[in-house]
Symmetry: C3
């Protein structure tokens, strides 16, 4: 039943960004995810990784990521170990090389979340350079590839063929802390490769990393999809099939936290409500990686309404990550 896993040739592959994987390789993953999802609904066992160990190192807190990975490896017959750097020797100065080498001798994969801007991706890359087992990103400062896999699987489930769909990715204003830019960056990188037209809307101070925006443009050109950036919130909604309004920090503009919060508070009208939803196509769905700041990013009416696909999207984290683990571990 899972006999294509071996022949997929992805055993041992790292997954730090979707950009490192070809469209064909990603298609293999989505196809396996769909099969694992169907088998779970049917109550079939899926002990593909029996007694194998996944290390999950979290530099930042998590609900969906931790639980979907740990439940996923459980359903595959293996075991996930939740690790906090503050309870590891990392807090005693152990370097990435030693951590990578030692964990590679014990278990079968190392998953890491490390969102500190300017640090996370560098840490993941250094672990990957030294590990002999696959290193899987659970989100860094630059990428959140597993989230985008789940987003894409959700879109495909709702619409079938994704070619020519319009996805709006819109910045929203959310208080209290400066959120990472990894989600919008990963969205604009991968979605155009699957033929999806992407409109990215943000206030001027909220631009993404120039090299990521450039790569997204290139990806769109190569696939024939459209990719455009705008400073008008509504542009992300108009005639869209899918909209993902989500807050992030002005990290490319300023590293100063207070100035970041001030800029976020300068655009309170960047909030998704029913009027915005009415700008899209009738079948338009609303997605958000969660947790959403209800009232500030989106109204309850929208996120709890009939167009919201947030729980389907969250569920798909489980299925795509099970496919990712089954293929690489």
């Amino acid at each position: 039943m899972y006999d294509r896993i071996e022949s997929a040739g992805l055993k041992g592959r790292d997954f730090l960004s979707t950009q490192d994987w070809s469209v064909d390789e990603l298609e293999t993953l989505f196809s396996l995810a769909a099969q694992l999802k169907a088998d779970r609904k049917a109550g079939l066992p899926t002990r593909i990784l029996e007694d194998k160990t996944l290390y999950m190192i979290f530099f930042d807190s998590s609900t969906r990521t931790r639980n979907s990975f740990e439940t996923g490896i459980t359903q595959l017959g293996g075991h996930g170990i939740y690790l906090s750097p503050d309870r590891m020797q990392i807090s005693h100065g152990e370097n990435a090389r030693d951590t990578a080498n030692v964990l590679s001798r014990y278990g079968e994969a190392i998953a890491i979340r490390h969102c500190a801007f300017g640090e996370g991706n560098a840490y993941l890359s250094e672990v990957a350079a030294h590990a002999s087992v696959p290193v899987l990103s659970m989100q860094c400062d630059v990428y959140h590839p597993c989230q985008i896999l789940a987003d894409y699987l959700t879109i495909r489930e709702k619409f079938g063929d994704t070619s020519g769909l319009k996805l709006g990715v819109a910045w929203t204003s959310a208080p209290n802390y400066v959120r990472p830019i990894s989600v919008p960056q990963s969205l604009i990188l991968m979605m155009p490769r699957f033929g999806i037209d992407v409109t990215l809307a943000y206030p001027p101070e909220f631009k993404l990393l120039p090299e990521i925006e450039a790569q997204a443009r290139l990806n769109a050109e190569q696939s024939g999809a459209r990719f455009e950036i705008t400073n008008r919130f509504e542009d992300a909604f108009e005639d869209a099939d899918v909209v993902i309004p989500k807050s992030w920090g002005p990290l490319v503009h300023t590293r100063d936290h207070d100035e970041g919060i001030r800029l976020i508070e300068a655009y309170p009208s960047w909030r998704c409500d029913a009027a915005h939803m009415a700008l899209g196509r009738d079948h338009m769905i609303y997605m958000h990686p969660l947790p959403a700041d209800r009232g500030r990013e989106v109204t309850d009416e929208v996120i709890d309404g009939p167009q919201s696909a947030v729980y389907d999207e969250a569920e798909n984290r489980l299925h795509v990550q099970k496919a990712l683990m089954a293929l690489t571990m």
Copy 2:
């Protein structure tokens, strides 16, 4: 061997209080618990919940509850995930609705401990309202139903037929912090339903929630058991078969912490010693949910003595919770 589980019809049921379950349903649970206990002693496998996931959200610290649930799901072939709100997005303001919906998409049950007075039960109820998987109480501010299941199984093992037994539930004075009222409340609610006469003894400021005391009275009336409240410590011991002396806070009387501690310290003589034990029947057993404050709640002589059943009681947490999970998940 476990073929009655399916036909019990409890799959998907929440367990926030014993009051929500009929005596027949509770009997089914006790009977399964006894069978699971016997099978464990015999070394038989009990993989009833293979590769299923139990989420255990702890707002408060734990030894017995966490380890008995996590060991229990392991012995059933499944996996428990220990979750702390401070490491989840709950600390970023995620609401109960989102947590409930998302975890329902991944695993098979959500167990929660949340003892903050005036908050815990409300939180559990809200999660239960939105979850599509069973929500199991690991103690809230109002109820600690799993503890009482274990207590009852222990009493039945010691005495056989429980009808007409006398149980004394006595307040004790224990320093440093204000303990929840969930244990005595759950005791007085459930024990009379199984024909056990209950004497509840506390100083005047330590009364329980009026609606719980009223429900306990009603339960006793319906079953024909006696239920009485007294302000004299010794009343709980005299002619009793079972005594559970246990500290709790004057939460119904005052929410002020310092005033609570002052009131607790006003009754230092409410401590169980050998003289009190001599007031009961010769076969009287001493129980306590642990941790006990040795020296303040009880003398070492009693808790480590021949009448103490505290470790049998603690062990039964494992067996009743395995039955609970097997029936509901």
Copy 3:
């Protein structure tokens, strides 16, 4: 395949120090460890402890110990529960007796790390006195027996017969905190019992517990091995087959933290570099339990060089501990 486990007669045995086990018993463990290691490389299942639970109580942080134990019990088909005293009732004053008794009723073994000087071993011993399941040391203030099992397995893999080999155990200067003395103490205790000549080198203020040094001398006399103590760093390297340069605190000399740090900083030249390595035999290997303070304890050139066996040594933690669990649980 694993039919000798039952007949080894070690079921239920505690493991707080290698000194409590005979050489024959330790040989049984090493032989099983080698077999488990070979079976893992061959991809064979080793479900010797199916659905059994190991409690891992960590009073101190850990990378290798936690992950090797938890991965090990996973590969044996069981489950490890990671416990922090600050999240258990231990933080509410629960005593060792109650913790030992309760966990003994639920699972199959209790592993503990507790390195606080003057407290750790006493705590482990008290738990062991009350537990009816085996208590396994994951390092205390006096012993780190699992580390030394891994060290010995590594030496045997590299050299075959270990009789007559020279091992240098050298103190090194490492900043910031006062490291335990359990590793050198466990090394000098066990290695002579397997015929290994040990040279222990430290500055005068860094002597080990007198009773441990005396026992090491006795062990050496009984086996015919040499054991010598010197205050010259180079003595540990000259003509050695194996060298383990590792920092520890002057705990026997002073309990004052600042004075300890001052003494550590008084010997900055006690650092292993290529020149020291050249003093040993050509085939000499470098080992360290990790985490090493790179630059202060050892140069990168040495620890990342061809003579370094640190990752093999770390890996062997997994295999010896799997053997330990399989034999005792």
